[in-house]
């Protein structure tokens, strides 16, 4: 017991010495984290790190949801090159509109605009179809790392730290002419730099907070109906 403890201590000391010599201690390597909603934490195991680029495909809602908690806690958010973004949805997801700026059409100035925005804002959401080359993207990512801002891209981004792709989504609540969109589950394929396998995570992206009928009661009603059917049969 005692020798095992001593060996563990020695091993830790050796590791620390090597880390100190190479300059790769984990604390220095990990940049500070921006707050993230607990339901989304499983998507980004390392958290929403400052300086990271995260590509999100196929879902504007997921982009907004990732930025929401940080904005609520006081971060500044800019949405660049997304003239279609639903600002009301952003507000409902928790983005503070007083700290949100939209730059819908950066046009040919996109690289310069992105550079300036990454300098000043904490979270930058980038739309599709910007006039930004791969070299510009690398430069923007480097700038984000240096200034500690998070870039959330609505399309693939070569060299992104994390790559989230919504593969499957299911809406609930609509019927044949009645109901309304209520809840949505999405399956997100998570790839990342330094993560070997693609993980698939099921996330409840929309949760109906004002449902009239509690869910268990509905299940009971259905079960009761079935029971009746079998009896009749």
């Amino acid at each position: 017991m005692d020798t095992r403890q001593a060996r563990l201590e020695a091993a830790r000391a050796a590791l620390a010495a090597v880390e100190g010599r190479v300059g790769a201690t984990r604390e220095a390597w990990d940049s500070p984290e921006l707050p993230l909603a607990p339901t989304l934490a499983q998507l980004l195991p390392r958290g929403l790190r400052r300086g990271h680029v995260i590509a999100v495909e196929n879902s504007t809602s997921l982009l907004l949801a990732l930025a929401a908690e940080a904005s609520r806690e006081g971060s500044w958010t800019a949405i660049v090159g997304m003239p279609h973004v639903g600002v009301l949805a952003a507000a409902r997801r928790g983005i503070d509109l007083s700290r949100l700026a939209l730059i819908p059409h950066p046009g040919t100035q996109a690289p310069a605009v992105m550079g300036a925005i990454v300098d000043g804002m904490d979270v930058v959401i980038v739309g599709e179809g910007l006039a930004v080359s791969d070299a510009d993207r690398r430069r923007i990512a480097a700038r984000a790392r240096e200034r500690g801002s998070v870039v959330l891209a609505a399309q693939g981004w070569a060299g992104a730290h994390m790559h989230l792709m919504v593969e499957r989504s299911r809406w609930r609540g609509l019927g044949a002419g009645e109901g309304r969109l209520r809840e949505r589950d999405v399956t997100v394929a998570v790839k990342g730099r330094g993560i070997a396998a693609t993980r698939r995570v099921l996330v409840a992206l929309d949760v109906d907070t004002q449902a009239l009928m509690p869910r268990p009661a509905m299940h009971q009603a259905v079960a009761g109906g079935r029971a009746l059917d079998t009896e009749v049969a």
């Binding site: 196929n58 879902s59 504007t60 809602s61 907004l64 006081g74 971060s75 500044w76 800019a78 003239p83 279609h84 973004v85 639903g86 600002v87 009301l88 949805a89 952003a90 507000a91 409902r92 509109l97 007083s98 700290r99 949100l100 700026a101 939209l102 730059i103 819908p104 059409h105 950066p106 046009g107 100035q109 310069a112 605009v113 300036a116 925005i117 300098d119 000043g120 804002m121 904490d122 919504v166 593969e167 499957r168 989504s169 299911r170 809406w171 609509l174 019927g175 044949a176 002419g177 009645e178 109901g179 309304r180 969109l181 949505r184 929309d206 109906d208 004002q210």
Partner: protein, 568 residues
């Protein structure tokens, strides 16, 4: 009602000076009508007289009398109309006169000024000297008689002013105790509050409480339990205590700079030079007044006589040197917008005059910072970045958004250029019947796009005026992605029906509808030109691979279907 706020507030009682101009409505009206103070006059409001001059009172005219009764008592009585705006306006002169003696006064209501006495009395030597200086200044500069009183607490000070007395410190309670309970009404500053207090006082009188001392002698918790917040307020007032500290009025006025063009100007280069010059003038004027402003109103007049106006926020007080440049940019953007006709407003026309007005002027170093501490470094950094992008793209390149009332997702967002001031035109609090249910769509098309909603046989579904659908929707056909070469080729192919190509939209292959809800009718602004009648439908379809549900919001309007938003 403000009574709960009054009851909650527990503040230190402040010693104050009250300057009271007796019968202020009559004095103001007589001054405006050019009648001397010796002539009997009265102000009529509704059925009764609301204020009576001293001469008229001597002739037997009383407050609350009917017009005919008053004229019988005093045939030469001049009856003047009531105008609250005039009372407030003319009282500014009295406040300004008092401000020559002390810095910072509170206008409690037209006719009554309140001044914290501690510093001012020390400066003038004694409270009596301060009172004398105030009365002299008001008599000489505003031309009206006034009375000054001093005491601890609001009610005692007001009553002291009515009696022209100085109540020694700490004796307010004894001073108030023998006064009739009707005096409580003098502590109410607004008309609604006053009526409320008068009702309450009449109850007290019927209960046999005739002096303020009687009310103070009652146990406090019992008064609160029986009469609620107003009882607690009245008891505090009657004991000579305060419920709120005095609010001092800001004395600074708006600073304006105007430039008149000799020849009407329409070239932007010419205007840019003028913009820089005017901005610098304003900067200098602000610096001379050693103040800064929270907002700048930029106004311009065109040769056609139209006025163009916009308000910009300025957050650059700390960076003094940047102000002129900052304002120059804003003036230039705004003029560019007007002259190019991109911004909303009247027809573009050459300008004859340019005017900058600094609003919300505060002394330097007294800027309103954030509630908790100063503005953070992150905020300043973000503002700077956005200003830089505005420099690259123009004012309208960076937008600030706010939520407003409305029914469709597009209507519920109010967009303004970053840094521009404006109030959303539609209130959120209004009910907006028929607004679309949550969740809000994450993609909202700025311009709705044509879409096909088809029934099982492939004919477009129609909705009639009574919201009956011609058939349940079965297929939906969205417009193809413009980058989709396959869809473009199919569109050009002779089998598509239009040989030689057509300019119509390129349709993607139809998708089967999984589920749908609606129609939800929204008929808006039928009385105006921009009337719209729409019926919304929420539709969920499955994409070609059967993996992702695609939920869309479509609307039927004027006989066609449009795609409004996507829940992606």
């Amino acid at each position: 009602m403000s009574a709960p706020r009054l009851a909650d507030a527990v503040v230190d009682t402040v010693r104050r000076v009250v300057l009271w101009v007796p019968d202020w409505p009559v004095v103001a009206a007589a001054m405006e009508a050019g009648i001397g103070p010796q002539a009997p006059a009265a102000v009529l409001h509704g059925k009764g007289l609301m204020a009576v001059s001293a001469a008229a009172r001597a002739a037997g005219v009383r407050r609350g009398m009917r017009r005919r009764l008053a004229q019988r008592a005093c045939p030469e009585l001049v009856i003047l109309g009531h105008d609250e705006g005039r009372d407030a306006r003319s009282f500014e002169a009295v406040a300004a006169a008092a401000e020559t003696v002390v810095a910072g006064v509170e206008i409690s209501r037209p006719g009554l000024l309140m001044i914290p006495s501690a510093g001012a009395a020390r400066f003038h030597g004694s409270e009596e000297a301060l009172a004398e200086a105030l009365m002299t200044a008001v008599a000489e500069e505003a031309g009206c008689e006034s009375a000054v009183g001093m005491a601890d607490g609001l009610l005692a000070a007001v009553m002291a002013a009515r009696a022209n007395e100085v109540v020694p410190a700490g004796e307010s309670a004894q001073y108030l105790a023998p006064l009739p309970i009707t005096a409580l009404a003098h502590a109410a500053m607004e008309r609604a509050q006053r009526a409320h207090v008068e009702d309450f006082v009449s109850v007290l009188v019927r209960l046999g409480l005739h002096t303020l001392g009687d009310l103070v002698a009652l146990p406090g918790p019992d008064v609160l339990a029986r009469f609620g917040p107003i009882g607690a307020w009245a008891q505090r007032m009657a004991a000579g205590q305060d419920v709120a500290p005095p609010v001092l009025r800001r004395s600074a006025e708006d600073i304006a700079v105007e430039h008149t063009f000799e020849d009407p100007a329409e070239r932007i280069e010419q205007l840019t030079l003028v913009a820089a010059e005017v901005a610098e003038q304003l900067d200098r004027a602000l610096l001379d007044a050693s103040s800064r402003c929270a907002r700048v109103r930029i106004g311009a007049r065109t040769v056609t006589g139209a006025e163009l106006e916009r308000v910009w926020r300025t957050d650059v007080g700390v960076r003094a040197g940047a102000f002129a440049k900052h304002m120059t940019d804003r003036v230039r953007w705004q003029l560019e917008g007007w002259l190019s006709g991109t911004a909303q407003g009247p027809e573009p026309a050459p300008l004859t005059a340019l005017r900058l007005t600094a609003e919300d002027v505060v002394p330097l170093g007294r800027e309103q910072a954030f509630l908790w501490g100063g503005s953070s470094g992150a905020d300043a950094r973000a503002h700077r970045a956005l200003e830089r992008v505005q420099g690259l793209l123009g004012a309208e390149g960076v937008l600030a958004v706010a939520e407003q009332g409305g029914r469709s997702p597009r209507d519920r967002i109010h967009v303004l250029a970053w840094g521009q001031e404006g109030v959303p035109p539609r209130r959120i609090e209004h009910p907006w019947p028929g607004h679309l249910p949550e969740p809000a769509p994450a993609t909202v098309l700025p311009i709705p796009q044509d879409v096909q909603v088809l029934d099982a046989g492939g004919t477009p579904v129609r909705i009639d005026r009574r919201l009956a659908m011609s058939a349940p929707p079965t297929w939906v056909r969205l417009q193809a992605d413009p980058r989709d070469a396959k869809a473009r080729a199919a569109h050009r192919h002779p089998s598509s029906g239009h040989v030689g190509g057509s300019d119509g939209p390129v349709w993607a292959s139809p998708l089967p509808i999984e589920a749908w809800a609606g129609p939800w009718p929204v008929a808006e602004r039928w009385w105006s030109d921009d009337a719209s009648r729409r019926a919304f439908l929420q539709i969920a379809v499955r994409d070609e691979h059967g993996e992702r549900d695609l939920a869309v919001l479509v609307a039927f309007t004027e006989g066609r279907w449009v795609l409004e938003a996507i829940y992606d």
